[in-house]
């Protein structure tokens, strides 16, 4: 029981640190970037003064929400190059507080292992796809909007943190991250089916979802389905 109490206390402190609106803006800015962020950039991103940003960034790091790294800018080194820059990035740690205490992850791990033992991956994907259709159906878009925007909004609401990478929509966050680390083909397959279901539920023939894993982030990417018109 001691572990769970200690874990919760750290997470409670982390989440409490976000109550300050300035800290919240700073955290959101840093978390949304694809690169490590220095204090000047963070200050501009949050619309505040640099010394104030530095203070709050360090409070966020103390609370375990941001990690600090020191890097020399590329091409600089040797004596006279100056101190390495202090940069911030979102911490990889999960923070969760649930009251009363709930532990869905523990039962998810049991159920995932059961699916493996039973060889039920296909059934799991079918269930996920059905759920995705229900979710997608609830959020049907207006006729005129760009197909991508509506989907981006839905996926953002589910925690995927979608962003555009040229013509591709990628997902910065995997909402099932630690479960996916323990059961990658099952959870990634299930996740793909869920997102395919969402697209089907929204009747978005213009977009397809595929597994396209990268080092970080969610392994699913969405692309425009190939069009038949000639250019």
């Amino acid at each position: 029981m001691t572990d769970r109490v200690e874990g919760s206390a750290e997470s409670l402190e982390a989440i409490a640190a976000l109550q300050d609106p300035v800290r919240r803006r700073l955290y959101d800015y840093v978390a949304a970037q694809d690169h490590e962020v220095g204090r000047a950039e963070a200050a501009d991103g949050a619309g505040i003064q640099r010394t104030l940003a530095a203070f709050h960034l360090d409070r966020l790091a103390d609370a375990g929400l941001l990690d600090v790294v020191f890097r020399r800018p590329a091409g600089r080194g040797g004596p006279g190059a100056g101190r390495p820059a202090k940069l911030y990035r979102r911490s990889a740690a999960d923070h969760a507080v649930s009251l009363p205490p709930r532990d869905y992850r523990a039962v998810a791990e049991v159920l995932a292992e059961v699916v493996e033992v039973l060889g039920g991956e296909e059934a799991a994907e079918a269930v996920a796809r059905r759920r995705g259709r229900v979710i997608g159906g609830r959020t049907a878009g207006g006729g005129d909007e760009d197909a991508g925007e509506g989907v981006v909004t839905v996926l953002a609401g589910l925690g995927y943190e979608p962003y555009r990478d040229g013509a591709v929509i990628r997902l910065r966050n995997c909402p099932f991250h630690s479960l996916a680390e323990d059961f990658p083909p099952l959870v990634c397959g299930l996740n793909l089916a869920l997102i395919e279901g969402i697209l089907e539920g929204r009747e978005e023939p213009g977009l397809t979802a595929r597994l396209d894993p990268r080092r970080g982030g969610c392994c699913v990417a969405l692309r425009q389905a190939s069009k038949n018109k000639t250019h």
């Binding site: 296909e122 990658p184 990634c188 597994l211 894993p213 080092r215 392994c219």
Partner: protein, 158 residues
Amino acid sequence: MTDHHLALLNVGRIREPLDTPAMAGFTEALEPINALADASPGFVWRLTDGDAGDATSIRPYGDDLLVNLSVWESRETLWNFTYRTEHLELLRRRREWFVRVDEPIIVLWWVPAGHRPTVGEALRRLERLRRDGAGPEAFTFREFYDPEGRSPRGVPAA
């Protein structure tokens, strides 16, 4: 840690002979995925039958059991190839080509850097995993042991 490398054996019971149309998705992926492995950071070596360039003709236990044996520099590099490349999609589709088996079909173990495990050695590690469960001599990604025999998830091995 560079004095030890991580070996992996993966066995699979194919649903049909490799030259049947149902297996085309698998056989056509062999060359590109093997090339991807060879080019991946941390890749050290994989078992091949010299002629074919892959290990599919090596059948230690009857016609329908394939073996895949490779050595990597670290858990992280092996993980990144296995689950963060096009290989993930093939894993997701494995039931199209491989029969489900009740016992573990993947085993990991540490070898001295430069050592090339034999199929016999690898199969003995798998036997150990199946018989005794995961331990420092034979383990899995999920129940992993470092070269000193420590497991990050639980207590160190006695």
